[in-house]
Symmetry: C2
């Protein structure tokens, strides 16, 4: 018998819990913290891991799990699987809505509304004339690229290593040519993981490579640039605007001056996070399949390897 | 020789003015008000029309020209042509950005940002599960329908008279079945002209026919409902939210309480209005072609007939 702790933050309905429990009668499920658990489904705080004496496997609900893959956090022998791809659609759709709404200056009109200001904010961009550079061409990036292509946008992809160019991408670059890839586009989207390699990858010099009318949307991780860099970009209008869903320290401090930057469009890490019912459904399917595999001694899906840095 | 007054609000570049002037040397152009003009390109205030002694033809820059087609405004014998279709792309694209940004609650996150509030606004809608009802299936409506279909949305069209269903529409109704058409959709878009027939067409009862989670976007005219109806809909949350680009009296009075309604997303009549370069280009082409036809005695494009009401 294995005890499975299902994290309370998961938004499973009663029907979905029944589906989960039907996987096998070798599994007993609890829906609260239980340090006797063999398996954890859902996110867990790294500092509480040492309390779990029987832990064998963690299936996280997130794709980016920077806090668990730092050396020394995961107890020896514990398997870690993540929820890669589960969030692709919701993050891509959020980003796409942000691209369109910023291209049409809707955030500026919302600000004007608060000021009771009936003002024309000027020319806007036409979808089929827009160029979008997507830095990080994984599952989210590819889903986003297809949305952009559906409206006739020109899509440039940037990937760590060269691959065959997919049909929904017009030009493909490797990270080495990042500066070139972002130099002449309407929108730069960054959707890379928060690993060491990407830490502070976007310096002030990187932003200066973009056109002044470029909009940047970061739905990857907050360590892509320093807060100082971001503030300088915004204050000096080095590009037209930034939308960021991710921050170095979340939640962002209420006193942080970033909140009041008019050319920063802030969302509170909600691009993913199970805001689509289909994402919850997809995670449920992953849990069911991985539980089945675990009991049968098969290799799990989405195993995360802890890299020595 | 005909004198052509080109309204100063038109955003023609010097190159575009040259193109216009090259149509014929029988035309002399002025770029300011000139009551000797035979032809006016661009919008004109109805009350100043009587000052023009030689006026033969007005080519307006707008599609909706409610103020000119009221009986008794247009001097006898003056031809009126409008800019129908010129604005279709910009209005459709603005509306589409609004659909996506409201489906993803981006306006709520913008409001939260102003309050320094890191808050989760809950579930959002998935594009390919959305149903959109477009009331008014002219050029704008059809352009919008194609954008919606490109993301896999289900599109219901409402047209005054029955036509063959276009491929980019899944269901087609006539105005008589309006209540049915809007009864089970995520988004209702209204894009009808501001004529008597549509005046106060949307009563409180009409809004009550919609689902409580429906979003309505009005890019037609402000006389579609009374201001009292709109306020009741918003205050009683009869539907989830309204976005309106048009108002009965524009600009909206800074003291109007509509500005502060959190579930009203207000834009200041900017969905059209030459915010895309391609719209300016399209209007230039229309002017050139109509000037050529006028000089050759051919029938003009987009003639507006004043209906006796």
């Amino acid at each position: 018998m294995y005890k499975v702790q299902v994290a309370s933050h998961l938004k499973f309905t009663d029907e979905q819990k029944e589906e989960l429990e039907a996987v096998s009668d070798q599994l007993s499920f609890v829906y609260h913290k239980d340090t006797d658990a063999d398996i954890i489904l859902g996110n867990v705080r790294p500092e509480s891991l040492k309390e779990y004496k029987n832990l064998k496997w963690i299936q996280t609900a997130a794709a980016g799990i920077d806090n668990l893959i730092r050396k020394g956090i995961l107890p020896d022998g514990v398997i870690l699987t993540n929820a890669a791809d589960v969030h692709s659609r919701e993050v891509a759709e959020h980003t796409f809505a942000m691209i369109l709404s910023m291209a049409k200056k809707l955030y500026l009109y919302r600000d004007d509304q608060h000021k009771h200001l009936w003002a024309d904010e000027g020319m806007v961009k036409q979808y089929d004339e827009m160029k979008v550079c997507i830095v990080g061409l994984g599952d989210i990036g590819n889903t986003l690229a297809k949305l952009c292509k559906a409206l006739g946008m020109y899509v440039i992809g940037v990937k760590r290593r060269m691959i065959d160019k997919p049909d929904h991408v017009d030009e493909l670059y490797t990270s080495e040519d990042l500066d070139k890839a972002i130099s002449d586009v309407d929108v730069v989207v960054t959707v890379m993981p928060g690993n060491k390699e990407n830490e502070n990858l976007f310096t002030l010099e990187t932003f200066r490579k973009m056109r002044k009318d470029t909009i940047m949307i970061n739905v990857g991780r907050g360590n892509l640039y320093t807060e100082e860099t971001l503030k300088e970009v915004l204050d000096n209008k080095i590009i037209a605007a930034v939308s960021s869903d991710v921050y170095l320290k979340e939640p962002l401090d209420p006193n942080n001056e970033l909140w009041d930057k008019p050319n920063l469009v802030l969302t509170p890490h909600v691009a993913g996070g199970y805001h689509l019912y289909s994402a919850i459904e997809k995670f449920l399917d992953l849990c069911k399949e991985n539980l089945r595999r675990y009991l049968n001694g098969e290799e799990l899906i989405n195993i995360v390897t802890i890299r020595e840095e």
